[in-house]
Symmetry: C2
DNA sequence: TTGTATGCGTTATCAC
DNA sequence: GTGATAACGCATACAA
């Protein structure tokens, strides 16, 4: 199957020169006669020469490759971030190696090891939900590989980070609800071992405080990640003696969808009797009836930012800026599900 | 930044043996004393040794890497296929390098070249919409790299292929419409330079023929890829003296969504007065009212099949099966938008 | 401007 | 079993 590929030696032999000259020409060095350079380039094309990047990288000690570890690549948010990274990386001649951790700590560790083996120059990661320690990430740093965390980050680990300002977004969302006249706002919260969910809760609490609304413990529900769990939680909430008049599904739009379905079935008018607010700006939030107010995480922009951050650090690698943090402001997308006033 | 990584020589030096023994132990060879093997493994772990895959691959002449070229990573169908490939590839210790062609022929060529440079063992591609020749794909084969086309394939190029049986799916979809009593079925078709759209049209025609329905030219509309174009086409169709009683948006669910919106606005009852059928089983088709009947392309399965096909070919590379084609049968998902009878 | 020599880290092929 | 050595393809310090 595999045929022999032409090497710089083949080109050299054909032109009766040495491989070093060929190498120089191919790398557009100035230390080679312009004429022979052209000649070399020409015959390289004729022989259909393709540089062996493996060999080149081995020699140069880097791979011009960025490794990415995400829980799932076929999840809107992540695939958008990756698309953003790809776009920026491509322009710099960098390639992407992509792994999925599948929300498993064990596989995450394996992914990291593969990427270290592959000599990637940089590892970009959004940690998995059940990630319980971070020896493997320390290991990345020990190997001299640039580590960038995004979205779901381990705060105490000092690395470059690109995050959403979850607290601010959540604060604005809840403020919006309050300004629309909602007073008993329930919160569907995510697992509190992931910092993003902690922050979203903080934002919720801050908004209540700012507007002088009391914190009602029975309106706070955990473990509501999926549509089914969101639905379940909603049934519980709407059957309370004093049900909430709004539900902020800070975990995801899927959860919010569950809320909407149960509310509709139980005869609650949205947004009249119940306001609903999701998180992520999934495509479908625009299409439900009523459409769902949500928060856009600017995922493609986030990817681009990650890549740009890496290239910046590359350039001034002398300066020590070990734990720069870039925070991207998510956008509140107001739709029908929370709009009671003009 | 980059620190020196431990090599097999470091391990060898520490144990007063040679690198060859270390290499053998690390590769679990039998030609090394069991005791020393254990000792080597132990100190390798202690020194936090990670194999340099670049060097290893260079020596071995392959990279255990699969290159993927798709128009967009962040498109449901493609990200699902990639997820499927990743899952199967990961188990075999293969990595993925991913590129986006962005529907541009020029970038597609560049992607292919990068992947050849990277010495990938296999290139998996779904060609971009404006791909006009395939020298670059021939080049892949010339370099002895296994080429696998999926979904959007160039038929005359003899490679491994994994495709959806678009014709059959389309045939079943239209048959379903006819069995539901629809008689004037419009077709929103895609660019006919992509084979998948040609096949979907064939299936449409075959179904009409089977049930003895006439082909009505004015019900065939091209260039309807997006939601906006689908809406446009629908306005045209529903304003005909004799409007259709069903529209098959064979291009995409987005197009079907445009149909649904216009139909609703114009006061056509769906499915009573107008049946609507999409293509792709996008998440939102379940959420519209009414929900949209569509075709599921089994994208994750498709990805797995691609990977498995490659590994099979690997194993019996002696046998010449240059252009095996695997066809996956898409599933018709019947929902409210076409259901008039029980 | 060009050629020579060496090394990147690993593995395969010999000998012993 | 183990060690010495060459080779994978390329890039660079150095010599010429």
């Amino acid at each position: 199957m595999r045929k022999k590929r032409t090497t710089i030696y083949d080109i050299a032999a054909k032109l009766n020169i040495t491989a070093s000259s060929v190498s120089r020409a191919l790398n557009n060095s100035n230390y080679v006669n312009e004429n022979t350079k052209q000649l070399i380039l020409k015959t390289a094309a004729e022989l259909n020469y393709k540089r062996n990047t493996l060999a080149s990288n081995l020699r140069k000690g880097h791979s011009k490759t960025i490794g990415i570890v995400v829980p799932r690549i076929n999840q809107n948010f992540f695939s958008n971030v990756i698309a953003g990274i790809e776009e920026a990386a491509y322009q710099k001649g960098y390639n992407l190696i992509i792994c999925q951790s599948g929300e498993s700590h064990e596989k995450e560790v394996k992914c990291i090891n593969t990427l270290i083996n592959q000599q990637v120059d940089c590892i970009v990661i959004s940690i998995s939900a059940d990630s319980h320690d971070y020896k493997h990430l320390k290991n990345v740093i020990d190997h001299g590989i640039q580590l960038i965390q995004f979205d779901r980050v381990i705060e105490e680990l000092e690395t470059l980070k690109v995050i959403n300002d979850n607290e601010q977004a959540s604060f604005e969302a809840v403020s919006h609800l309050i300004e629309q006249g909602y007073k008993r706002i329930a919160l569907l919260e995510g697992p509190q071992n992931l910092n993003i969910f902690v922050q979203r809760k903080k934002g919720y609490l801050a908004a209540l405080k700012k507007y002088g609304l009391p914190l009602i413990e029975e309106l706070l529900l955990e473990n509501t990640l999926t549509k089914e769990r969101g639905a379940e939680a909603t049934r519980k909430l709407l059957n309370l003696p004093q049900p909430p008049d709004a539900i902020f599904a800070s975990v995801s739009d899927f959860s919010a969808l569950g809320v909407l379905e149960v509310a509709t079935v139980m005869g609650f008018k949205v947004p009249g009797e119940l306001g609903i607010l999701g998180y992520s700006n999934e495509a479908f939030t625009e299409l439900t009836s009523p459409s769902i107010t949500t928060i856009d995480q600017c995922s493609i922009e986030m990817g681009k930012t990650v890549a740009e951050l890496y290239f910046q650090e590359m350039d001034n690698k002398e300066v020590i800026t070990d734990h720069k943090i870039i925070s991207i402001k998510p956008k509140l997308i107001v739709r029908s599900s929370t709009l009671r006033k003009g």
